[in-house]
Symmetry: C2
Subunit: 282 residues, 2 copies
């Protein structure tokens, strides 16, 4: 289906190391080669790069591997198309503006029959279930808070109520950021790690590359990395539990919540109910 990569940091950090490993999965160590996208927040600005070439072959991905953009919040996505055309308008991440901030969203999974009425404020440009879900999430935030910007904790509260409703319709792993923080949610597969002082070395799984973070960091640095599958072989990654939501800020988790997805409970009790979805075949 696809894979997600998110990064949330205490200080502006370049994602070159993680992206080098991650992008190998777009044709070398895995076959997620139907396009990619990556968004970098720099203060309130956001740069979004998408391409319908693979992250291995795309000249845009090559630029990103070689032009270190320092950012506190990054979300990237590589795609393996299982349904829908490989078109740019269907490329994750998606971007919208709300409350004078850009919002970036990338999703891993398939949703089935999720077509609630949208207000019209946010309308999908492409035809993916993912962009539809993103517009719905933002609609719910506007319904709750109007045009008065809430705190990131208040946003967490609403997402915690809305995400499990969407997750009733299928696999719903996502990363969302507005440049201040990164909200992440998983129903099947997502992992996270925090790198902080004293930093260690790390060895990529997908590429024979090793870095000693202690040589390229300061004690003030702290980086949380969120990804579908762990990127390094010598670090301890933590798996999200099914229905877990985590809010990252300043490079660490600051809020956790477990949500109840009725579908997951039914499926746990009776595996024959389990929806067969290509989204689950990583």
């Amino acid at each position: 289906m696809c894979q997600l990569l998110g990064m949330n940091c205490a200080t502006p950090t370049d994602i070159t190391f993680s992206f080098r490993g991650f992008s190998q999965r777009a044709g070398v160590t895995s076959d997620h080669c139907d396009g990619f996208g990556i968004a970098f927040f720099e203060h309130k600005a956001c740069r979004l790069f998408v391409d319908n070439q693979s992250a291995v072959e795309s000249p845009i991905a090559d630029l990103i591997r070689n032009y270190p953009i320092k950012s506190r919040n990054v979300i990237a996505h590589i795609r393996k198309a299982t349904q829908g055309k490989i078109t740019l308008e269907n490329s994750h991440p998606f971007m919208r503006e709300l409350w004078g901030r850009h919002w970036i969203f990338a999703h891993n999974g398939d949703l089935h029959g999720f077509q609630p009425q949208l207000s019209g404020h946010f309308t999908p440009v492409g035809n993916t279930d993912s962009e539809y879900a993103f517009c719905f999430l933002l609609d719910q935030l506007v319904e709750r808070f109007g045009y008065q910007e809430p705190s990131i904790q208040d946003v967490f509260q609403v997402l915690q109520e809305v995400a499990p409703q969407i997750a009733e319709h299928g696999t719903f792993n996502f990363c969302l950021s507005n440049g201040q923080a990164l909200w992440s949610y998983a129903t099947t597969k997502l992992h996270w790690i925090v790198r902080e002082y004293p930093f260690q070395h790390a060895q990529l799984i997908d590429l024979d590359v090793e870095v000693d973070f202690s040589e390229v960091t300061t004690p003030e640095d702290r980086v949380a990395v969120i990804t579908t599958e762990p990127l390094t072989q010598n670090e301890q990654w933590t798996a999200f539990r099914a229905g877990e939501m985590i809010l990252f800020q300043q490079g660490r988790p600051i809020l956790h919540a477990m949500t109840t997805v009725q579908r997951l409970i039914r499926e746990a009790q009776d595996p024959s109910l389990r929806r067969i979805s290509k989204a689950d075949l990583y």
Copy 2:
């Protein structure tokens, strides 16, 4: 201040030739070196590249000069900062979504005291008069048409009413596109040209580069280029009149209108009234 470049085409066309000349003005033939941006529509998708390095030195601009992205609608902007910090969030073009389409806007000029109430639907991320004007324009479109997408001609009608109101506050040259068409407006300086069959050769002003378009085109191609200052020395560019709005579609102007900007009339009658603005010093 800055310079604008727009392109609207009958068939997907790469802007490499024009952008090569245009980007020379970011430090070589002129000093518009405080960042640049360029947006390409590909069907409904839109790719927006911005950088706070100059379009001469930026690796992103280099990618664009060498990676031909074929598009029917392109808007680019190079900046010479006269006020405001050189930050990415203040980089043109700006992007928003409305009616399930991306909208791209770039402005040349300074506006003074233009701070009408915004609805909250569209909020500036940075602090430029330009992004504020863009949000105001989109607000006016929603006020007029709600969440029902109008025709491009209907949009032209509203812009024709709203643009001169904004132009009362200063220099207001802009390019706007939603991927279907390109709306352009000038109060001081903007030029346009249509290249079509039988194509001729063209010689850039800013770089010793010549192209024979007849060798790289088909009879179906037709390209309108809109720019602050003409890009070629051997072609006939048409200057916008003060207050002129033109809608381009399929590579040609399909609607013209002259708007009345009272400020321009007063200034024409009494040059001593003329607002002294760095925006006018190209």
